[in-house]
Point group: D3
């Protein structure tokens, strides 16, 4: 447990704190005098803060690199409407001291609860081979640990610890809901696709100290990685029907929906097409939500340009706030599902 | 009520029938003798059938054109695995004799039931201006009649009488379901968008005797048409908030989601983006369902090439039929909506 | 009337001036001492100038924001071949003191003369409904004021006060000329399209203190806005033929010529296609002219990369200046119009 | 002079004519008896007509091929609302008998008049090197003959004898008109570009008996061909300024305006950009005009799908015919050219 | 061994033959009398021929379908410059009678020779794990049989029995040659990629009676199929380095070179990029060669439009035949490989 | 011969050197005191180095511009892991003092050796007209000098003195090798294409002091330039067959392979298509090699993002270095060329 988190800066204004951060950007710049100073971006799981170290830089400047975790003593002050830290002392931490979960952004949801929700979806699958397949994944301690921690992307959406699980549970929920409206949809297949579609991200992305791609991730991508994970587990399911195997493989490799997004095949059956749409929708809803959260303090209902969606976004709630908000919040109709 | 419908051909094999059809294609060809014969495609709301008239063609060949409705007497016979009609006599019908609903393909669902379901969605809208706006549309007898009859497209999906209503009710249902998974979604706005997004098709498409585009439809398109319909009705809602007006207009003009599909603006707020996704998904689910229905008799689980989706489709149910189907049909889990 | 305009900097070198500017960019930076200083971009209708304020910054730095208009006292000096202003004192001005026309770039042409030229084109329209329609627009004082002031774009072309009017008059002139070469062109329709095609920019763009998009502009765009303006005015023209209405609407929504430029329909009749071509040509000719003006001082006949045209441009006149320029300037042939 | 032209078929109904045609399509089909019959498309410069030869086919069927010119005797009759010819006798003509100008579609304008108009534009060029260059082209008898005969395209626009000249004269006229509206345009350069931009089509296209591409045309295209023509003539202009040479070459190779239309460079100066726009506009205006002429007999104001423009077209005049046409025809305003 | 092959038709003109064919297209048409006749396309491994059966059709028309193999008796005759067969009698053959190799187009090269050449490339690989991996593939009798028979594509290139092997051997040869020019290329990796890049086609394509896609091929594609084949064999190579595994997987999934051609990853190291280029080049060289062979009889050096390359092709040799051909054939220089 | 080259900085650490550089970037910045200082990027043919001049700047700052060559005295020191130069004195050099070859990056290969290798390829061409044509190019002293010096591109690949020649020799070698695998390839044509395909770069690019485009290069491009060079030399080859001329011209204008890369025609015969592939391959192999060289010091086998290839690259050798490298280096098989 860190002594101080970035989100609590306001409580420490003009005080000296001693705590730890991961270095997400390090630059050595020079004062006019020719002496170097350090310009750093520090991160913990609650945010980022700019920091400068003006003195005694030479003796410590080369003792650490980006992605290292440092113990830092310094002064919290406000400058140009933002918090910053003037560093007095730094020291690189030993691995043994580090609790990595302190440094990366993390879902605000309860990971155990999400994991249980995912388990309930798996239990609800009627087709026994598919259910057993997914249970094997959940029972594999290495996969379970990774599945609960991995982000869903490097930058585009759900880029935080727990993001993969958060995204998959939300997607399962959308699948479960929309399947009710299309009676010819095989819900078991659809949920299996939702469970597996991004599972390769546990090896595609690295997320120990910062978010990046592994070599395997760069060269193969999560779809190819998850095919191999699938085959390993399939070997443990007796009598898995070969037709089902092909359908599950197709769900995986077609879920990006288009060639230019890296799917080598277009979705060719209803469950594959629906998985693609709901996955894409969930990613973009989360990208919008995160952008609104990020820009919550702005006066304008318009956000900054969102690069994942390649447009600025309008926060509908803010824009409508002059209306009586209560009027807009009505009870959901009891949906007339046939 | 017609005396005979094309879907009942098997019951009249090698019998002479007298009934009416719309001419969906007419060609005059010549026999080797130099004499003309007629090669027609006939349609009623249950299907199409090829027909040939060999004799006495000259006296009737120029008495009718494509899209006319004829009373026809002829012999039902099977040729090359398909039904055909050898025509003995034809006569163009008077407008007064015609019940146009006999000739165009039509939804198999109950239009009154769909209309009631749409009304229930409207009633469930909490924001009073939006609810009143939609109620005005439903109460307008001219619009109501058209909304209940129009197809949703010329060829791509829901290309049948009642298709527009069928599509909109299904879309409202998907919107209602998925909104439960994204608490920041304004359900009232989303349903308003679903109700209005294709309403201009009542003027864009002509569907009295065949499906086509009106001049207005060709030059303006349904999005521009529905803006004007919207403005006419808005004038009747006292105190409609100007912010809401802009949001509703944006929902309309952005619902195709991309410039190349004719949206002059990209969806810029969550309800607009969700409307686009669920609209597109509903269209494609129906296109798949219709293709499966069309190819139901084929042995292969693969359909013919589907031009709306630009790929052949796999009928998952057919493909999996060798598995014990019962195992695949499980109870929906009680979705853990937060 | 401001005391000093940026284009006159050379006459005030090393003098202290007191005048007003709009803040087009404001940054607070820090000196090595840790003290803040201000780095500003100032604008008036004749240009922009960089400014720095080194002292007493804290007391004034948060008293104003970008787009505010300030009274400033400071020293004009030249640095690194460019003029800059070292600020001594600043004060935010009251709305009452401000003549907004002082601060935004403005056409160098006579706006009254342009407005009269536009009126003459309107008077020359033979079809009485179209002429009356446009006369109603010109007689509407709110629209007239906006039409005379609005820029034609935020950055791409005619991005200055009066730019919309300047562009439309030039476009009317091109339409009038080219129509002589194509006798089947309906000149009345073409001119009506030219008059209306960008009129929605009066609401799409904001241009009080800087050029930007309104929320309406972002969500709807000028084409959709001008449809509503059109309908309002059409209601005042008795007996406006419905065919003409559809043609005018199509001229508006198709004038960008392609889906990817935000036209929901492609131009489908000759006047619509011609309007698109001549509008695009006029925009690009102005973009070239403005770039040549901007780079007039450069030795090279090549301009900087022009982002509107996505290429560098060659100033033909500069490039050919070594030839006897007189030889290149010949009398226009009496064009053999049929 | 042929004895009979296809456009005069109505005057010969049910009469036997003897005249000549070029064979634009030849198929040998078989009667049910197993005997062959001929199904031909015949063309002369006034149109095309279908023809059938039922008897004595074997002895003549292999005596001619597509693109040959035949003397034909046969009966003109009407069938299925179109004229056709029942052939009695055919004979392949000797080259000596043939006046090729009888067989290909040809501009209805006076070629000598167009040629004079082109000459006047050349004479109006002030810059002496450019004027001399173009005069050399006009004085070259081989080029002059080809320039007066070549079509401007195989199928897209101006696809008739004299089409190149027709297009260039119209383009010169548009250039001359529009240049008046942009004072910084170098009219001499612009007209030189208009004169030369398609001159390579004299070698790119073959048009003796039908329209096609030469091998040179296929492998090089008209732009590359005209560069070589240009260099040959430039060698005869003493002191041609090298800057002008580069500009003229750029006008030629950039006039398609975009890479995907075969221009290896984008237009980079105002005259090149204007030439591209006005050339494209003139082609499309002619494509529209020709489609309207082709569909003049249709009741609908909509034409068939136009493949050059990839859309159906609306004939504005037909569509507006219910209005008082006179009202639409007004005097051109005296354009207020500055 | 069939009694007669289509390529030998000229030797049987006007004779009755009895032999077998696969039905590649079957249509039932009707004579004017109303009686049906058969219009068939027959294929054997040497070509295709059109056939008609006029009499006694009803009793046999429904006894066979497309892709069936029939024993046929009929008359060879020439009609309209092409060979055709008038059928007297047909009979569907039993599986036991059929030698399938008689019916599909097949490489003209010696398959055993190609297989040995492939084996020599494998033997030349220095890295022992890669060599052992490929040896395991070659030693697997099921894969070996399929690898020797599969076509390389359905229609685009090498669409004949043995086409896969033919293509891979040629590609290995190109790889071996070009690698000599780029010393930093790892030849072992490159050859491994060449060996494996299309091996999944043994399951992607069906080629027993005609060329098509399997369901696995449609849903997964050959790249995904070959990943699984690879993993199966890798399990048998002790100590296969994990880095090498990732590189080989990347070679497989990136070899189409671009997302839109179905590669989920772009080639990211030199061997992957070179494999993509040489594979693409080999396919297109073969497509050109096959088109030249197909159009060998045409007088023109231009071929028909080639749909794989989306352009017509020029046969350079034919085009240059008027030159002294000997002059063009020179000795290869001894390439100065460094 | 310069006194000091940038690559030798390590040997002069903390010493004062006097030598010359070309200025590839010059910025005047201001110290906090308001005084200016110079921030320069210096280049010679061995690399680049950052330099700062702190004192006496005013008197020299405007005496030189970018691309000028200066004699500079200053201190070599290391800062932030990179070498920099603190300037004491600068002086602009006279043209007479300058050996331009000292300042631009240059191939590390022996230019004379490359030129001889090119000559051997020319000598090996059997077709006498083609061989004579290329010999004329090599014998032209102006072209020879330029061909030996020009870079092959401004930034993408082979962007160094001698790069054009280096690229062409390597391409000839690849052509010579691959042609052995495709017996229908006319090697003489292919080598002629390789020799000529980029020769226009001698006029397209300027490379006296830095790499840029000439006006001719910008407006015409190297393909158009080399057509004119070709025509000039063709005039000196008696009896050059016109068919060959067209083929050579097509090789030149189609070698970019696609319209969007500036080829006005797609490659239409085998030699043109092969030239395009091998040219593109050679460019990309060199781009990869240069990136590996540039990033040789990095620990990671991944390079920085490569903008020419629009992806990061994996250095295969580095990645595999943990394997026994010897095992990977095998003898090339004796390629079984047919």
């Amino acid at each position: 447990m860190k002594e101080f988190y970035i989100r609590d800066a306001a409580q420490q204004e003009n005080k000296v704190v001693t705590t730890s951060f991961v270095i997400s950007n390090k630059q050595i710049k020079s004062k006019k005098s020719g002496e170097p100073y350090l310009d750093l971006t520090l991160m913990d799981r609650t945010g980022t803060i700019q920091a400068k170290m003006w003195d005694n830089v030479e003796e410590c400047a080369y003792t650490f690199e980006q992605d290292d975790i440092l113990k830092i003593k310094g002064l919290i002050n406000k400058y140009n409407q933002r918090w910053q830290l003037t560093i007095h002392k730094v020291r690189k931490m030993d691995e043994a001291e580090i609790d990595f979960s302190d440094y990366l952004p993390k879902t605000s949801k309860d990971i155990d609860g999400l994991w249980r929700a995912l388990g309930e979806f798996v239990s609800s699958i009627g087709e026994p081979h598919l259910r057993l397949l997914l249970e094997l994944f959940m029972a594999d301690p290495e996969i379970a640990r990774a599945y609960r921690n991995a982000p869903a992307a490097k930058t585009m959406h759900h880029a935080f610890i727990g993001g993969l699980l958060d995204h998959v549970v939300s997607l399962c929920r959308s699948c479960d809901l929309v399947a009710r409206n299309y009676p010819f949809i095989n819900r078991d297949l659809l949920l299996t696709g939702a469970f597996l579609h991004d599972i390769g991200k546990v090896h595609e992305l690295s997320y120990a100290r910062s978010f990046g791609y592994t070599t395997e991730g760069q060269l193969l991508g999560h779809m190819v990685i998850e095919l191999e994970l699938l085959h390993t587990k399939l070997a443990q399911v007796p009598g898995f029907p070969p037709q089902l195997k092909i359908l599950v493989e197709h769900l995986i490799i077609s879920h990006h929906g288009q060639y230019e997004f890296g799917s080598p095949k277009l979705p060719m059956f209803p469950e594959a097409l629906m998985l693609h749409y709901l996955d894409d929708l969930d990613s973009k809803m989360e990208a919008m939500r995160a952008q609104f959260e990020h820009d919550a303090e702005l006066d304008s209902p318009w956000t900054a340009y969102n690069s994942a969606l390649a447009r600025p976004l309008l926060n509908t709630r803010k824009f409508l706030k002059s209306l009586d908000a209560d009027e807009l919040e009505a009870e959901p109709v009891v949906a007339p599902i046939e």
